[in-house]
Symmetry: D2
Subunit: 345 residues, 4 copies
Amino acid sequence: MTLNIGVIGTGAIGREHIKRITNTLSGGKIVAVTDVNQESAKQAVEQYGLDAAVYPDDVSLVAANDVDAVFVTSWGPAHEASVLAAIAAGKYVFCEKPLATTAEGCMRIVEAEMKHGKRLVQVGFMRRYDSGYVQLKEAIDNKFIGEPLLIHCAHRNPEVNEMYTTDMAISDTLVHEIDVLHWLVDDDYKSVQVLFPRKSKYAHDNLRDPQIVILETHSGIIINVEISVNCQYGYDIQCEVVGEDGIVKLPEFQSITYRKNATLGSNILVDWKQRFLDAYDAELQDFMDSIKTTGEPNGPTAWDGYIAQVTADACVKSQQSGGKEEVVLADKPDFYKKGLETASL
Amino acid sequence: MTLNIGVIGTGAIGREHIKRITNTLSGGKIVAVTDVNQESAKQAVEQYGLDAAVYPDDVSLVAANDVDAVFVTSWGPAHEASVLAAIAAGKYVFCEKPLATTAEGCMRIVEAEMKHGKRLVQVGFMRRYDSGYVQLKEAIDNKFIGEPLLIHCAHRNPEVNEMYTTDMAISDTLVHEIDVLHWLVDDDYKSVQVLFPRKSKYAHDNLRDPQIVILETHSGIIINVEISVNCQYGYDIQCEVVGEDGIVKLPEFQSITYRKNATLGSNILVDWKQRFLDAYDAELQDFMDSIKTTGEPNGPTAWDGYIAQVTADACVKSQQSGGKEEVVLADKPDFYKKGLETASL
Amino acid sequence: MTLNIGVIGTGAIGREHIKRITNTLSGGKIVAVTDVNQESAKQAVEQYGLDAAVYPDDVSLVAANDVDAVFVTSWGPAHEASVLAAIAAGKYVFCEKPLATTAEGCMRIVEAEMKHGKRLVQVGFMRRYDSGYVQLKEAIDNKFIGEPLLIHCAHRNPEVNEMYTTDMAISDTLVHEIDVLHWLVDDDYKSVQVLFPRKSKYAHDNLRDPQIVILETHSGIIINVEISVNCQYGYDIQCEVVGEDGIVKLPEFQSITYRKNATLGSNILVDWKQRFLDAYDAELQDFMDSIKTTGEPNGPTAWDGYIAQVTADACVKSQQSGGKEEVVLADKPDFYKKGLETASL
Amino acid sequence: MTLNIGVIGTGAIGREHIKRITNTLSGGKIVAVTDVNQESAKQAVEQYGLDAAVYPDDVSLVAANDVDAVFVTSWGPAHEASVLAAIAAGKYVFCEKPLATTAEGCMRIVEAEMKHGKRLVQVGFMRRYDSGYVQLKEAIDNKFIGEPLLIHCAHRNPEVNEMYTTDMAISDTLVHEIDVLHWLVDDDYKSVQVLFPRKSKYAHDNLRDPQIVILETHSGIIINVEISVNCQYGYDIQCEVVGEDGIVKLPEFQSITYRKNATLGSNILVDWKQRFLDAYDAELQDFMDSIKTTGEPNGPTAWDGYIAQVTADACVKSQQSGGKEEVVLADKPDFYKKGLETASL
């Protein structure tokens, strides 16, 4: 049984997913593509030798009879409409972040999905599929460290270009921590605050970098996340959870070690695209597998997309106000309480 | 384009590969199975919901028109005949180790393949596809450590049952180091010697454990391999290459780290099947991909299977003689010099 | 040339220093002791076989002709008077923290010392003598990581008894970070804020534990310090300085590593007294050596004691107010600008 | 109570010890020095401001009434005579390695000491005082890893000059492993064998480098030691003991870790003199302390010096013969069985 997939948006991430489905993963087939740049859509078909139709827009692609599931990999502002179209057609959707660029947009998707009556949407928060985070989750769920009290995180990129502005440290960067951390401790955020330390000489004029974001959950867990997008040395994701009985920490990216020139060293990644390669594979394989075996995707839900957007909005507000900002979420519908959402690989 | 695969031998490893091809990897399909226990073959079809014919024996399976490639995953003594049958039929073969249980048997396969005129056979030495070994290989090939002079290795299993005898430390255990190490340094073995240290109290009566194997290559590299198959603490593979300018070492298996009970710790695998999971996936995907793109498999060759067998025989001879034994290989045919054999993933 | 030392306070820390001077270090001799409990003073003489007079109080001990330097190791509230008495007598003083229990008390000592005209006082902030911190300091001073932007710290104790109250997390615990961190980055604190995460089940009724303290310096460096005094697993001091070009981190306490029971582990200290043993030795040896070679002690000054007290007061105020509190220091007198204060061992 | 010490040999190591006794350690005083170069002896007195007499030779120094103990830090061939003179005078001796340059010479010292009737001699094998080796010893003695079966070691120097010849890899380098390893496992060597791998391009014409030495003990423990004296990258001492139940390994030299330029690194020592600084301090302090408290030195004995010499001789013989050589020791006299010889710091 093959899952037939239509791809909306054939830019970089869209083509990565096309390549995965076609050359690496099992059980899916790209049968349809579209892009606002039709030439790009045609090139993608050629580049990967696809047996796929090129559609003029998302609506016609979603409507195609042979499309079982849709990948939304267009630019952010276009996500909401494509996802709503897919839900209206009863098609499964894998949507890259953001689910929508506003909390209201996310809520419209949540409501559409609930009205449809079963889960159709998975949001592309791939870290839940990373082996390191999965090990952390298992340790926490097994009470290996007792109740979690604190989380120390860092999200570091070697550099960013001048298009990257202060608020993107939240919407493009922190958003991954926002999703994975509440999942990790099974708790919701209560408040956030952004602090601006001394600015790095490598940060552009219109960018405050680094930043520290402090998130507090309802149970009182305090999370501090360092965001450094001009750290120079590499792409580095750190996460350490402090519990009542012990601490667990994300592993370093796996590298040979060496002894040379008075140094005992190992390699740190520079290219972020290498860091979660296995997680991207696992998330798409799980999306396809769980649809086949349970009739619903199993990963991050539309509700998780909504949480991410509300929390990110509060962080941006704190960037501007300088103070602590509340995270005000609607009550979680029962609809989204049923599953475990990727507790293990 | 799908590669149609017939599986000879539906025991544990056979089923693992069936599962991989069916549920995880891209581009292959199991269309035929056989086993000396026909019931087992039928169960495998059912277990994985295969659309595959059950054949009475290897010969009939190999002859099936829709079979493009054969997986030989039966017990060792049966490998040679199945591989020779596949070559005779001009079918591709992926053969688990050993290629044959004697050097002469391996040589018969080598000769059959050369007579056929192009590479058909890949031997299941999966370590060449392990990300850690690949990184070691790249570092050595890039002269990061200068010329290699010494290699320190350990191959440790938590325990073995009473069926495991002294010689199996060579044929079942060391054989993986035999293959991967000569590939790593692109050199051939000249002599071997096995030393028996004090015996572990956990070793059975008919087993000398641990053992130390010392291999010397033609360029003078000395390799020492500790084999401990009752080490109790875990499944642990170590490899450190000492070069003129520095040292590179295999990474530990990736684990979260923890702080608890006065210990800073990480987890060591206990189950060997977990250690090379990604490598098994990569080797089979590469087998299929390189056949499709180049018309030949790209991994360990029949000649590598022959090297492994001759070297293992010398080691067993040294176990018995107590002395140093020469490794006498036939001249390497030009046929096997053409490729690079999996230099990178 | 021997430095003759009088010890005021023969409790645990006093005896540790007596033992050091007598059995381990070079160039000092304990010639006088006193304690509010005279019996304790006599026992100390006996226990270490000292050739030392027992004095009835600090004033008479300070006045003794053969006393060159005084160790103040009594309880905190008594420090100020003893230190002032020593300065009045022109004697050198090594004073355990706190220099005085109030900022005003510290300032009285500062003023007395300046009036005397040369440095006499060293405060017992031993971390500046720890090899790990010294390496961090050298790396920062050498611009190995560029300008420091952020510091992440943790100060963890396995447990505390019921006498330990919320404010002691500042005065007894954080005070070491307060001293060593401003020295490390050669900067002064501007503001502090204490956050209270979810409370550990191991914390007593009258103790908030863990705590997070956020300190900001004048140049904008933001420091976050986790204080966990019931962390159960060990005594653990972490410090990671994030600079514009890279990061440096304190080493773990040195331990053999082991492989056993599926764990790759090393030992974490449980007893805090083991952690800075070498630093205690180094600080006292340096106190004696620098007096002999330069006529003045070289370690943390009375001014550093004042900084610690003012900063600690602001932290306690924040514990109560829940908000950010300013650190208001007097202008640094030229008198305290002359030296480098222990830049290297 | 001060131990009055006379130093025979005021070269580099002699002066290091003079400095230690004078400026760092407690309870000793240098009261006498001599050197075949009298000018050197006088300079040493001046350099460290000693209150010490300069003697014309070892015999007169040993005879001086105020000398309680003698440090023999002259060149190797002179050691035996000085040690015998000290024993004859009933003086304590701390002798740098070698105790004597021949097994016969060592045996003459052993016999002289036994005739004297109590232990006077300690040999300068400082590794037994290194915190890492002490931790290994404790773990082994506590049966933490069960019975030891194998030991993997490396002794690496960045480079040597042309004076360093093949045999010095044994007498100057391996000799430290020879001493510390038999102490570690409380066992005696039975045989040794030296293997010569491919030669490093950095090795001089008259030097085989690296070398592998395989030592076997009476209980069957097999030890392999890599000696690389042109390893370029640093001074690096590795020791891993494999037991029936687990493995323990020497810690790396303690260094801050850093993240910079795509590297997660720590520093490896280049200068061997830094590696065992604390161990040198501890061995001399223990020499003085144990003489004071027990009337005998507690460290490596004359018998240990004899073992080292016999074993080193067998290794050099194997370098020449290419084969395995027996280590033939005289029976251990009861005289040397009494103590534990530095089981812990």
